[in-house]
């Protein structure tokens, strides 16, 4: 009996870890929206399905970058029939998406994947360490909502939970030049 319970716990932990791994590859809000579209499409299938066809039907020829990761980590997708364990992985990803904090970033160019990884890691580590120090809450997931605006000044503006972090270069340089330190040192 005890060993059964342990098995269930281990299984659920594994599913959660897989879910987190796939979730990490969904970096932006548009990735998440794509995932939700796929999730909704899969939930409409009663019998067997061909995942490649389903993906093509939804996204066309251009497969999202996270799709391969998902298919490799959820065995039922390749087999064409979803088990309870597969569904629990998909559900855990959906739940993480719903509970994640959206970080809106406005900038003038499309950021690289490395840039996005770095941003998410910095925010996640800083935020979660401060929260866990304060209340011992579970770690929070973040998702980037990138808005590329033509003619936007160099730099970026971050909107996190209603707060604004303005990191446009002009602003940073101006405030640095206006600082007391600069005046004393150079003029």
């Amino acid at each position: 009996m005890k060993s059964d319970m342990r098995d269930i716990k281990d299984k659920s932990k594994n599913n959660n870890d897989t879910g987190q791994k796939i979730f990490n590859s969904l970096k932006t809000k548009s990735d998440s929206n794509q995932f939700i579209r796929l999730y909704n499409a899969l939930s409409r299938y009663v019998g067997e399905f061909n995942i490649d066809k389903v993906v093509e039907e939804i996204f066309g020829k251009e497969k999202p970058h996270w799709a391969e990761d998902l298919i490799n980590n959820v065995p039922g997708l390749r087999a064409g029939i979803l088990s309870e364990s597969d569904m629990s992985i998909l559900n855990s990803i959906k739940e993480k998406i719903n509970n994640s904090v959206i970080v809106r970033i406005e900038m003038s160019f499309k950021p690289s994947d490395q840039f996005m990884d770095k941003v998410i890691n910095i925010i996640k580590n800083t935020y979660n360490s401060s929260i866990s120090n304060a209340s011992g809450e579970n770690s929070t997931n973040f998702m980037l909502d990138i808005h590329v605006k033509e003619g936007f000044e160099p730099g970026a503006v971050f909107y996190i939970k209603g707060n604004i972090l303005d990191l446009r270069l002009r602003r940073i340089v101006t405030s640095y030049l206006l600082s007391h330190n600069v005046v004393e040192r150079y003029l």
Partner: protein, 497 residues
């Protein structure tokens, strides 16, 4: 710069100042759900990126709800910034003679209101009891039936209730005419009225040259719901400004049953739990906290008052409706405009027997108190007699004289919608009627003549005032007038010839 551009600029400024942002998540016009703005507070004004403004009405840990002050909608995903301040309206002496919207701008296009001295929050806390006083001075409405039978006092809150088209608005405008002539600041809050009705009220004030003592705070029925909801609060805020300057203010709220209906609409859209007649649970509170701001005040030795006459519509003469009874319990009495009386052709169509004044009588001097007593008991007797003769009973001399006098009294109490009479003229004319020297055909004519003479002839005015002031009570006055009525009548006839 248009108002929209101003708000767009304000959006940029407050983002810079507060470093906070929210995003529109859901729109159920005029209620908008917003995510973000972590330090927002209730009643705070927010600016939308598109140039709209709104006011925060509720906060939850998931999102916040904003009441939009515009007819055009905002977009999902649009940025919103909080102003850091609650909703405020511009107030100042410059408002006198103006017709303003609940946002404090002129109702006339492109008209700038000069003389604005400060900005006041519309949702202020009513003054504490140490700054309040018993209602003690009478408030003349210029309408004989009210001034003699259902007197009002300065600082009183009296509900004006009745079916539609029974003369409620005509009466409140008459009260404004009289009070503005006496120097009181009169504020008329037209809540979701037709624009033509607001214009008519303005023209009436212009025609009677009292515009400089009046302010109209108006919202049209096509205006944004938020504007309609705010109208009485803004009017009360303007009234409080003049109260703090030591002035007496008469505030008309026309009408609060419409206001309640608009509030019900907002509440249902906001998904507040509906209660009786689908009104939200706090519909009593929103009117109680509004009317509690009126009263008679003594602020650091400076006396002032806000007399408030809220209007409420009834249906089929039913005064037991939810909002109507709420307002009755909040106010210090009510004046009931009866459709049956209106159909009989009597104006004003006030049902004296169903009207109440709780604090007005304490403001009357002994003469007016005497008249009130005599007239009340006579009308009760007349009413009983009229009911009695319906049974086909034989009419004796006593009954005949009661009916005859009743006819005269009702003729005396009849009044046109723009006729207002000063209290002393009403007293003298009633005394002349009571001693039996005026017949019912001459009453109206004499009263008009006497009022004109009273306004332009100082000798006549002094004579009347002296006659009344030197009499201790109504009986004494009756004696004096009986002795000199010929002189009085001659003077009125000659003076007006």
């Amino acid at each position: 710069m248009s108002l929209k551009d101003t708000y767009r600029q304000s959006f940029i400024d407050v983002v810079e100042k507060n470093r906070e942002i929210g995003f529109v998540e859901e729109i159920n016009h005029p209620i908008v759900s917003i995510k973000g703005l972590p330090r927002a507070v209730c009643n705070e004004v927010v600016y939308f990126e598109s140039g709209c403004i709104g006011m925060i009405t509720s906060l939850s840990n998931r999102n916040l709800q904003v009441l939009l002050f515009a007819n055009e909608s905002v977009k999902v995903g649009e940025k919103v910034a909080r102003s850091g301040d609650v909703f405020r309206v511009p107030v100042g002496e410059g408002l006198l003679g103006q017709v303003i919207t609940p946002l404090g701008t002129s109702m006339y296009q492109n008209k700038v209101i000069p003389g604005i001295e400060e900005y006041r929050a519309t949702d202020s806390i009513p003054l504490p009891i140490n700054l309040r006083e018993r209602v003690q001075s009478p408030l003349e409405t210029g309408v004989s039936l009210i001034d003699m039978l259902i007197p009002l006092g300065k600082g009183q809150r009296e509900l004006i209730i009745g079916d539609g088209n029974t003369g409620k608005t005509a009466f409140v405008l008459q009260s404004i005419l009289r009070q503005a002539q006496l120097g009181t600041i009169c504020i008329y809050a037209a809540i979701a009225k037709k624009k033509s009705s607001i214009k008519k009220a303005e023209q009436l004030f212009e025609r009677h040259k009292i515009k400089d003592n009046t302010i109209i705070v108006g919202s049209g029925s096509s205006d944004p719901i938020a504007s309609v909801y705010l109208t009485p609060y803004v009017a009360m805020t303007v009234a409080e400004y003049f109260r703090d300057k030591g002035r007496d203010v008469l505030l008309i709220l026309d009408d609060l049953s419409t206001h309640a209906k608009y509030y019900r609409e907002i509440s249902l859209i906001s998904r507040k739990f509906p209660g009786r007649d689908s009104y939200p649970g706090d519909v009593f509170f929103i009117h109680a906290r509004l009317l509690e701001r009126a009263g008679n005040f003594n602020i650091n030795g400076r006396k002032s008052s806000i007399t408030c006459l809220p209007v409420a519509s009834s249906i089929e003469g039913d005064i037991t409706g939810y909002i109507q009874t709420n307002l009755m319990s909040i106010t210090d009495g009510h004046i009931f405009f009866d459709n049956a009386i209106f159909k009989e052709g009597r104006r004003p169509a006030i049902n004296y027997f169903l009207s109440v004044t709780r604090v007005g009588r304490q403001t009357q001097n002994s003469i007016r108190w005497g008249i009130n007593r005599e007239l009340s008991s006579f009308l009760t007797l007349h009413n009983k007699t009229e009911r009695f003769i319906h049974f086909g009973a034989e009419i004796n001399e006593g009954i005949k004289s009661t009916l005859e006098m009743g006819k005269k009294v009702y003729k005396f109490l009849e009044q046109g919608s723009e006729d207002v009479y000063s209290a002393n003229i009403q007293v003298i004319l009633f005394t002349l009627l009571w001693i039996g020297v005026l017949d019912d055909e001459k009453i109206q004519d004499y009263r008009t003549k006497a009022q004109v003479l009273y306004d332009k002839d100082n000798t006549f005015k002094n004579k009347i005032d002296e006659l009344i002031n030197s009499s201790g009570d109504f009986n004494n006055l009756l004696g004096k007038v009986s002795a000199s009525y010929k002189d009085l009548i001659n003077y009125i006839e000659e003076g007006s010839a």
